[in-house]
Assembly symmetry: C2
Homo-oligomer: 145 residues x 2
Amino acid sequence: MPDLILDHFIPYRLSVASNAVSARISQSYRRKFGLKIPEWRLIAILAEQDSMTPLDIGKAGELDKITVSRAAAALIERGLVQQRKHPGDGRSHFLSLTSDGRALYREIAPIALATEANLLSCFSNEERTLLDDLLRRIERSADAA
Amino acid sequence: MPDLILDHFIPYRLSVASNAVSARISQSYRRKFGLKIPEWRLIAILAEQDSMTPLDIGKAGELDKITVSRAAAALIERGLVQQRKHPGDGRSHFLSLTSDGRALYREIAPIALATEANLLSCFSNEERTLLDDLLRRIERSADAA
DNA sequence: TCCAGATAGTTTCAATTGCAACTAAATTGA
DNA sequence: TCAATTTAGTTGCAATTGAAACTATCTGGA
């Protein structure tokens, strides 16, 4: 009856692949470091940018403001992130990693990269780049509409 | 400091792309037909296979048994899916679409395909096939570990 | 200047999810 | 044969998530 074959339906394939990868990755962040995915993402962003407002973190990491707010609160509580006043805007503030936060990042980053390498072990470099590119394009396409 | 660039980290790209696509797609199922993603997926599976047990549906669609159970209950409630006894196993049962369910499927399927076509409108056929293939491989890789 | 939006971030509350416990039926093996 | 274990599916409860309301601050125009 159907001309739609779920098994070849790209949104389905994408969701299944993403779930499988997320499950695999988040397990290791969670078990070893007690971090949820948004928390890990926030750390990774701050490691690249040093100091940012929650709003900019959200933009940089596709996190909504509620998620950023909660992740930041949890990380501040654990002493991994610190807050300081935004000089020009009293509603906002800057977030940055503490030295504990940076130390944690230096522990996790290699593991994250190794996990990724493992996931992609059967991919050539071209394929890897291609996947990155295709994912970006489909994402842009989805956002557009 | 980091050798990990979030923006090129494949698990991140995958998650962002999948979320963008899911958001786009689920909105249309939800608004037009009042279906959640697992409900839609269950319908799509039954449209292909005609009659299956919840267990087999779960295997076919990467849904866990709780999700299948709840989706099926909701669809039965709406008269889109029906249950009948499993002759050989009293613990289980068969699920299939009712004629209303099939009618709904015939409405949604073309929309789903059109949405997919739209998402992939800037992809060549080769790229499309390639994406499917790459997603399958990374998924297998993630499941393996 | 000061009031009417607009904006940053947080909190509250309701919906969704997922684990673990549960029921019921089937299978295994002494 | 029948008790112990396994399996199919459901349900109850706790954690996660997200939308909308809220607080505090900022901006722009009379």
